[in-house]
């Protein structure tokens, strides 16, 4: 079952993610991240979750990435910030955390390869079952997610608001 399509998509996902974490320029990193998310969407499709693959493309690669890209464009970060990032990212800084994380990854791979489950093929779970589960036993969690999203909207509005500049009368008159 697990064929060449999975390996190609997985390879693209890992490669694009490596490119994301090694870029100095934030815009290049964002574009590579979109590629990575699209590759993950292909993997989700191969695992019998076509609806989740569509959601990954629409919400992650579509909405969240566009939000980040517009945000970066709004801040107008230029060459200076990339140069600064280059200055920060010395091997002395990144080599030790990376080594620790790679040890963790080795442990994880070892544990995953350890288990000997009875062989079962990938099972297709169609969106209808997901919908029934979502609005059946998980209805409380759906409502909580709605509250979370509303809290997100209110929080983003409150935090993103600019403080009104209060100028002295004299300065106001001078400016106008």
């Amino acid at each position: 079952m697990i064929g060449a399509a999975f390996y190609i998509a997985a390879f693209i996902a890992v490669l694009a993610t490596v490119m994301v974490i090694t870029r100095y320029n934030i815009m290049h990193a964002l574009l590579y991240l979109v590629v990575s998310l699209l590759a993950v969407a292909v993997v989700l499709y191969l695992y019998g979750a076509p609806f989740m693959a569509a959601l990954e493309v629409i919400v992650y690669a579509g909405a969240i990435m566009v939000l980040l890209i517009f945000f970066v464009m709004m801040l107008n970060l230029g060459k200076e910030s990339a140069a600064q990032e280059k200055l920060w990212l010395k091997p002395r800084i990144w080599i030790f955390p990376s080594l620790l994380c790679i040890v963790l990854l080795g442990e994880l791979v070892f544990l995953v390869l350890q288990n000997h489950q009875p062989v079962s093929e990938v099972k297709m779970v169609n969106p209808k079952e997901v919908g029934i589960a979502l609005f059946g036993p998980y209805i409380l969690a759906v409502e909580l997610t709605g509250i979370l999203l509303m809290a997100g909207i209110v929080g983003a509005y409150h935090l993103g608001r600019q403080k009104e500049k209060t100028l002295h009368r004299f300065l106001e008159n001078n400016q106008s």
Partner: protein
């Protein structure tokens, strides 16, 4: 070596998660840290969907939807916080905000 599909999917999720973890430890730029959190959340969602297809139940995919909604809420609040930080310090260096001037 022939990998079982569930094993392969879990390995991919683990690799992506660790890449995100490395990025969040190594980077100083705060937008990159937010991106790393996105990578890690995405890897966790992938693991849920793989498990869902292993057992043939819908629970993992339901969790994926919740993770998606949470990521959207998280990124909007995070970007608003970064905006405030940028206006206050004129930089995206996370070390600038290390001290709380309470």
């Amino acid at each position: 070596m022939i990998l079982h599909p569930t094993t392969a999917g879990m390995l991919l999720a683990g690799v992506l998660f660790v890449l995100g973890l490395i990025s969040i430890l190594v980077r100083r730029d705060i937008i990159f840290m937010l991106l790393s959190v996105e990578i890690m959340l995405n890897a966790a969602g992938l693991a849920f969907v793989v498990a869902s297809s292993h057992w043939g139940t819908a629970d993992g995919q339901v969790m994926f939807i919740f993770i998606l909604a949470m990521a959207a809420a998280e990124v909007s609040v995070g970007l608003a916080l970064i905006l405030q930080l940028y206006h206050q310090f004129k930089t995206l260096d996370s070390d600038e905000a290390a001290k709380m001037n309470g």
